[in-house]
């Protein structure tokens, strides 16, 4: 039997805004009166390392999503989607930003960054659906590349049991007022991408 209504794994690179997405979702769930918990990475992982966040909506157990249990894998960076693909449920969905952030092992020539199709193919074999988008380009057209994570949040909105209204209300609590319009635009562009 299910022990959580919706299990999310949100991944990316330190500084991309992974924790902010989880914070917006968590606040929205609290407004909806739904129990919510999550686990995040601090410390070492923030120095350009991989970042993973677990968010469980409608759950009163541990904050960690089990291996093979994620309903949605939201990836702000392509290689990180693949790195954490073992969390995906076979029925799960992947939402992935296609813009790479090169790790230092690649920039200094110790490793190679795989082509996008080599990242997406094994993801497609592992789950129900993979939706890839250039979230940086979408965020730029909304006014700021910084809102890339909010584009991805917009894409995610239809896959979680929370109303768009509550998510946007929660977003306005987290984003500074002067960036709110651009972020709302980014959210709408991300949402349109999966419709």
């Amino acid at each position: 039997m299910r022990t959580s209504v919706c299990d999310l794994v949100i991944v990316g690179v330190g500084g991309q805004g992974v924790i902010m997405i989880s914070d917006v979702i968590g606040r929205a769930a609290v407004m909806a009166g739904i129990p919510v918990c999550g686990a995040e990475t601090h410390g070492m992982a923030q120095r350009g390392g991989s970042v993973i966040n677990h968010t469980r909506i409608g759950c009163r157990f541990s904050p960690m999503v089990a291996s093979g249990g994620a309903d949605v894998l939201l990836a702000l960076e392509p290689v990180e989607a693949l790195r954490f693909a073992h969390f995906l449920s076979p029925k799960g969905v992947v939402l992935v930003n296609t813009r790479p952030v090169l790790p230092s092992t690649v920039t200094c020539g110790q490793a190679e960054y795989p082509p996008l199709q080599d990242i997406l193919a094994p993801l497609k074999a592992r789950c129900n659906k993979v939706i890839a988008m250039d979230a940086i380009a979408l965020a730029e057209s909304a006014g700021t590349a910084q809102a890339m994570n909010v584009v991805m949040l917009g894409a995610l909105a239809g896959y979680i049991p929370l109303s768009e209204e509550l998510i946007l209300q929660s977003l306005s609590l987290v984003v500074p007022q002067r960036f709110l319009e651009a972020n709302k635009k980014a959210f709408a562009l991300g949402k349109a991408e999966v419709e």
Partner: protein, 594 residues
């Protein structure tokens, strides 16, 4: 009202709701956000919140406030309790005035630590009660309860969240901050405040005698929950209880449960479980603290009960996760285990290790150090961001806070004849390095000590320290001179350099290397993350046509330098430090003209 709170923010909230008057701590993952949350509260902030110089200092400051009648808490990470162990052990004898809570955050799996010691052992060792929360909400409630327990039994209480509690988020019920009372005074009472042997002996007897009463009081605490169902049972502590309860639902098994969140252990509840079941599994992270006691009790209560745990089912190292616990329970019940999955294409994944930031001055200092001292020299290092430079060949040791200087001394006295140049950060030096420097001077160690002074405690999130001229709450205070300290502690040669000025830095290291005694180099340049936040950014650099593709700048390891089509290229991460321009043999790197 409910709020979505980080575990450490929930603990901070609990401290407020308990009316805490003083909180002192030293930053350390995963504990740092407790004090950071309090500092940012402004209006509601307790009367005194401080970043102390180290954990021993923090606990003693907190004890002083407790003895003056103010509820007080000290925060630290697990290894910080080693530093604070001296006051911790004897405070158990002397007791408290107002409630005193030691918040010690453990880090199973060493997410950001040098070991994964289990602080429940420390509490047991000291005879101090320990509250072990399973989630943020429980951590908040326990923070309030800890003060009541401390006052009721005249003893410090440990609150022991782990990484998965401190850095979890959850919807948590928020209450009102409590009033803190009026004027407080230190009341003289030598029999309870002066640990002379004549006082300590009866206090030890008293400490032992009160254990049974504490256990009795905790037996009915809401954190210890017994639910007797089937004849197979689970006894689980902290977050392991959540994994186990979820697994029981998934496996659709009617198991008996005892979830434990408070120590000394509830022996009556454990006995009732042991009388009820024929088989029981003890599930806890790290040490078999619960399991050992269950084994002992079973001999008295029900010698026939089968007890499963660390032997073959639950690992004693690392952190538990849902699947490990689920599979251990499934195996006990003879049900199918579920295989842990792996990423489908591990071989093509480029590693993404944490590394020093683009423009980090530590990289420049280490580059110069290595250039002057050479590959045969010995480079003891310490705890901080700079440990991530292990690949540069200038981090030969990392043991504990401040140990770089003392290890360097011992390596010299042990007979090593090569150059010895150790390194530690400003906060680490002030925390635990000063005594080592004094010892090195006193005992004539011929070593070079490099203080990597980025004027903050960077690794844990940029907390101020006595070298920054600012307190935890942002007030201006005395700015301690590291140069004057080094001289006063007895260093013969003390020089300060800006590591972005490579030639000067090389010359300074050369003088230190040649110096026939104890030398100190202070490499001072603000942390590049802090500089960026305060907009003190220099113009970026670029690579020109002169680049010969020699890769010397690539080997320097700055994430702002990439290699593309046989030439170096500088990306948007460049902070404009200019050190790569100084090391480029072709003079191909220059500032972007604007």
């Amino acid at each position: 009202m409910r709020e979505y709170l980080l575990g450490n923010a929930a603990i901070a909230r609990g401290l407020l709701e308990a009316g805490v008057g003083l909180v002192a701590g030293y930053p350390g993952t995963p504990s740092s956000e407790i004090i950071e949350t309090l500092v940012n509260l402004k209006g509601e902030r307790p009367p005194h919140v401080e970043w102390s110089v180290n954990e021993k200092v923090a606990l003693e400051v907190a004890a002083g406030a407790s003895w003056t009648g103010r509820r007080a808490a000290a925060t630290m990470k697990h290894v910080g309790l080693n530093v604070a162990a001296d006051p911790f052990m004897t405070l158990a004898y002397l007791g408290v005035g107002a409630g005193l809570v030691v918040i010690c955050a453990d880090d199973p799996y060493c997410h950001s630590s040098q070991n994964e010691q289990d602080s429940r052992r420390y509490a047991q060792f000291a005879g101090i009660p320990c509250l072990d929360p399973k989630n943020p909400e429980e951590a908040k409630e326990m923070a309030v309860f800890a003060f009541e327990l401390s006052e009721k039994f005249n003893i410090p209480v440990m609150l022991r969240p782990t990484t998965r509690v401190s850095h979890a988020r959850e919807d948590v019920e928020i209450g009102a901050a409590a009033a803190r009372g009026g004027q407080c005074r230190f009341i003289k009472n030598p029999a309870r405040r002066v640990a002379l042997p004549i006082h300590a002996r009866p206090l030890h007897s008293e400490l032992l005698a009160k254990q049974a009463a504490i256990e009795e009081a905790l037996e009915s605490a809401p954190w210890n929950r017994l639910a007797l169902h089937g004849n197979v049972g689970i006894i689980a502590s902290g977050i392991a209880g959540l994994y186990a309860e979820e697994a029981a639902l998934e496996l659709d098994e009617d198991l008996s449960f005892l979830c434990i969140g408070a120590y000394p252990l509830p022996t009556k509840l454990i006995s009732r479980m042991l009388e009820h079941v024929s088989r029981v599994m003890v599930i806890e992270e790290l040490e078999p603290v619960v399991e050992e006691q269950v084994q002992m009790l079973a001999r008295k209560v029900n010698p026939n009960v089968e007890i499963l745990g660390k032997a073959g089912f639950i690992p004693r190292d690392g952190e538990l996760d849902y699947l490990q616990v689920r599979n251990a329970i499934a195996r006990m019940l003879g049900k199918a285990e579920r295989e842990a999955l792996h990423s489908p294409a591990v071989s093509i994944l480029p590693p993404r290790p944490p590394s020093l930031c683009a423009g980090c001055s530590h990289r420049a200092t280490y580059y110069a150090m290595r250039k002057v001292f050479g590959k045969n020299a010995i480079y003891p290092s310490d705890i901080g961001c700079y440990t991530m430079a292990v690949g540069m060949g200038t981090v030969d040791t990392c043991l504990c806070m401040g140990s770089s200087i003392t290890l360097a001394s011992g390596i010299r006295f042990g007979g090593e004849n090569e150059g010895i140049c150790c390194s530690l950060g400003d906060s680490t030096f002030l925390h635990g390095g000063m005594t080592g420097l004094l010892n090195a001077a006193y005992n004539k160690a011929r070593i070079t000590v490099t203080i990597l002074d980025n004027s903050t405690t960077a690794m844990t999130g940029h907390q101020p320290n006595p070298g920054t001229g600012m307190t935890a709450t942002g007030e201006a205070t005395v700015q301690v001179s590291i140069e004057a300290l080094a001289k006063a502690l007895g260093a013969g040669l003390v020089e300060t350099v800006d590591p972005y000025h490579l030639d000067d830095t090389l010359e300074s290291f050369q003088r230190a290397k040649d110096y026939p005694g104890l030398s100190v180099i202070i490499a001072r340049q603000p942390c590049v993350i802090k500089a960026r936040r305060s907009n003190a950014r220099s113009k970026p650099f670029q690579v020109g046509e002169e680049c010969k593709g020699c890769k010397i700048c690539i080997d320097f390891g700055c994430p702002a330098i990439e290699f593309e089509n046989d030439k170096a290229r500088i990306n948007a991460l460049c902070s404009g430090c200019g050190v790569c321009a100084a090391i480029c043999p072709a003079s191909a790197i220059s500032e972007v003209a604007k």
